[in-house]
C-alpha cells in the first residue's frame, strides 16, 4: 500500500533565510498527524508545498507514491492533487453564498448540478448548517463560518485534508465543540489528515502521531508518549510543562 502523503528532504529558502531544511515526513492512510511548532517555524510553508502552491528548492513531495513536486518544480498543479485545506483565516469567498463556496470546487470538476446539490446538502447536514446555504459568510456567526470552511473542504471528498491552525482564533467552548465535530468526521470518513497547530492539547484531541517543526527542521516525531517521555528540545519541554500545568489545574 502506498503512503498518501510523503515529503523527502524538503528545503526552501526565502532571501537569506532557510524556511525549511531537510524536512522528511510520511503520513499513512487514514492517519491524523499533528504538526506542531512555534510561529514562523515553517509549518504553513510545508502545507503550501504539499498543496502545490509553492515549489520546494530541493526535495520531493509524493502523493500516493507519485512525485508531484521536485527540486524547484511543481509537476502536478494544486487543482489536480485531490487535497483540501482549511486555512487559519478560513478564506471563505465573501462574494459567494455558503452554497456558492461549496459548489466552487465541484463545478470546477464539472459535476452535474444535481450531484452538486446532493453532495452539498449532505455535507451541510453533517456540519449542522442545513438551511443556511443561501447566506453569505458575512451573515454567519464565527462558529458557522468555521463549519462552512470545514464543509467546503469535505465536500470535495479529498484524498487528504490539511488543516492550518483552523481553530486558533476561537473561544474555548467553541473550540471544544468544533474539535469534537472534527474528531467525529475524521473518524467516520477515515480521511488522511495533517493538523497544524501550536497547541499540544488541541492536537491530542485528533492525532495519534506528532511531528514537531522548529526553525524549518523536524526536531522530533512520534507518539504523544514518546514526545513526553524524552523531549528533544526546549519547545517540546515547554509543551510538556504546559500540559502538566493544565492537568494539575484540571485535577484541582
Amino acid at each position: 500500500m502506498t503512503t498518501p502523503i510523503s515529503v523527502e528532504r524538503l528545503a526552501f529558502r526565502r532571501g537569506t533565510q532557510d524556511i525549511l531544511s531537510e524536512v522528511s515526513l510520511s503520513i499513512d492512510a487514514a492517519e491524523v498527524v499533528a504538526l506542531l511548532g512555534p510561529s514562523g517555524s515553517g509549518k504553513s510553508t510545508l502545507l503550501r508545498m504539499v498543496l502545490g502552491l509553492v515549489a520546494p528548492d530541493r526535495g520531493l513531495v509524493r502523493l500516493d507514491g507519485e512525485v508531484v513536486s521536485a527540486d524547484g518544480r511543481i509537476l502536478r498543479p494544486p487543482e489536480e492533487r485531490g487535497l483540501a485545506i482549511v486555512f487559519q483565516d478560513l478564506a471563505l469567498w465573501p462574494h459567494l453564498t455558503v452554497r456558492g463556496n461549496l459548489a466552487f470546487g465541484l463545478a470546477a470538476k464539472h459535476l452535474p448540478a444535481d450531484d452538486q446539490n446532493e453532495q452539498i446538502s449532505r455535507v451541510l447536514q453533517r456540519v449542522s448548517l442545513q438551511g443556511k446555504q443561501d447566506r453569505y459568510p458575512a451573515n454567519l456567526s464565527g462558529g458557522e463560518r468555521q463549519r462552512v470552511a470545514i464543509a467546503r473542504a469535505l465536500v470535495l471528498e479529498p484524498r487528504a485534508l490539511l488543516l492550518d491552525e483552523p481553530l486558533s482564533n476561537l473561544d474555548v467552548p467553541l473550540k471544544h465543540e468544533l474539535l469534537s465535530l472534527l474528531k467525529e468526521i475524521l473518524r467516520e470518513r477515515r480521511v488522511t489528515t495533517v493538523y497544524v497547530t501550536h497547541d499540544l492539547r488541541e492536537g491530542m484531541q485528533l492525532a495519534k502521531r506528532f511531528a514537531v517543526l522548529e526553525a524549518g527542521r523536524i526536531s522530533q516525531a512520534g507518539t504523544l508518549d514518546e514526545l513526553l517521555a524524552s523531549p528533544a528540545t526546549a519547545f517540546v519541554r515547554a509543551l510538556r510543562e504546559d500540559l502538566d500545568r493544565g492537568r494539575a489545574g484540571t485535577s484541582v
Partner: protein, 531 residues
Amino acid sequence: MAASVGRHLSVRLKRAQEPIALGAVGATLIVAALLPFVFLVVNLVRAPAEVSAGLALLGSREPWFVFLRSVASALVVALASVLVGVPLGLLLGSTDVRGRKAALVLHAFPMFLPPFLLALGWFYLFGRSGLWGGSEQTSDALFSLGGSVAVEALAFAPVVTSLMALALQGIDPSLVEAARVAARPGHVATRILLPLAWPAAALGAFVVFALSLSELGVPMFLRVRSYTAAVFARLGAVQYAPGEALVLTLPMLLISVALLVLERRLIGPGSFSVLGLRSAEKTVLPLGKWRPLATIIAWTGALATLLPFVGLAWRARTGFAALRDWIGTGPQNSIIPAAIAATLLTGIAVVVGRAIALRRPGATALDALTVLAFVTPAAVLGVGLIEVWNRPATQPIYGTLAIIVIGFVARYAVLPTRTFALAVARASAHFEESAAVEGAWFLRRLVRIVVPLHARAIVAAWLLAFVFCLRDLETTILFYPAGNAPLTVRIITLEANGPEPVVAALALVHASIVAAALVLGALAFRPRKAS
C-alpha cells in the same frame, strides 16, 4: 478657582480637537469645492438677462445634440478602457507574466499626463506628415470622433488596469489559494478574482467616464465638437458669453449629481478591497504553457499606450535647441501651484481620509463633496470658480497663481483623501485606540501614531495629487492668470500657432517632469533593507 477653570477649558479644548480639525478642513473644502456649485445655482436662479439668453440656447436642439454625443463618447471611452484594462490588469496584477511589474509601470505612466500630449504623439505618428502615416486616410481617421475616442481610451485604459492590478494584489492570498486547490487558474480568475476585484473595475470605469467627459485638450486638438469645448469657447475672447456658459453647465451639473449617486450606491464601500490576515503576501496564478503568449499579449497592450512617445521624440529632434525661447515660465507655473496644492491636499487627506475610514460624523458628507467636485466636468467647476473669485475684492487671489491652487484643491481632493482612507482602513484600529487609552488626545495621536504609521501612504497621496495637478489643463485653462500660463496651457496654445518640433519638445519636458516626480516617489517606496 482660576486654575480649575483653566484646566476645565483645556480639557474641553483637547476633547474638541478632532471636531475642530475636521471642521477646519471641511470649511476649506467647502470654500474651494462647494462654493462654486452654490454660486452657479444661485446665479442660475437669479436669471439675469444674459442667463435668459443662455436658457434660450438650451431650448434649441444643437447644444443637446453635442451634449448627448459627448456623454455617449465618454461612455464608449469608459467601456473600451474596461475592455482593455480589466484583462490587462488581471494579467499584470495576478499572473506570472514575465516582467509584469515593469510592464505595469510603463503602461501606467501615460495616465499621469494630459491626454492631449498623447494625441499630439499619435498625430506625429499618423498625421499627414507623420512618421508612420502620411496618408489622408490615417489623418482623417485620427481627426474624427472615432479617433478622439480611441486616443482617450488608450490614454485612460491604464486607470482601469492600475486599479484592477492594485485591487487584485490586495486580495487576501488565502482566498486565491483556497480556490487554486480546487480549480484551474482560469476558473479561479473568472469565479474568484474578477468578482472580488469588480469594484475596482467599476471605479475605473466611473473615473474614466468622468475624465473623458471633462476632457478638453483631445477634442480641441482633433477638431471634434464636444460639450466641454462649447462651454470653454463661451469663456474665450472670440465668442465671450459667460451667461451662456453658465447655463450650458446645467446639464453637466445633473450628470455630476447622477454620477455622485451612482458612486455612493455602487462603489463607495467596495473600493476598500478584500483583505485578510495575509494581505502583505502576494500570490500569482501560474499560466503554464500559456505564459509566453500571455507575456506577448500583456507587453503588447502595455507598450501600445507608450507609442505616442515615439512620435513625440521623432518630432522633437530639432525642437530642443529652440526650447529656451519658447518655454517661458511654464514649468514653474505648473510645478509651484501643483506642489502647494498637493501639500494642502495631503493635509486635508490625513484628517478627512482618516475620518472616512473610521466613519466619523460628517466625514461621509465631505467624501461626497470631494467625489462631486472630481466627477463634475472641469468646465462646470471652472465656471463656478470664476463666479466665486472673479470680483474686485478677491483679485489678489484671482489674479495670481493662488486661484490655480484653489482650483486644484477643489478638483483633486478625492484622490489623496481616498488613498489615505484606504491605508487607514487597512490598518488595525487598535494602533490609535491603544494611544487613546494611554491618554493621547487627537492631535498627539495624529502626529505620533497616524502620520508615522502611514508615512508611505502620505507620500503616495502627495505624489498622486501632485501629478494630477501637473496634468491638469481643463480646469486651469479657464482662469489661469494672464502671463502665468502653466506648461499644459502653454503647450496647447503653442500647438495652434507654434513650431511643431518645439511643441513636441515641450510635451517631452512635461513628461520628464512627471517621470522625475514618479521616480523620486518610487525611491521613497523602496523596500527598506534590514540592518
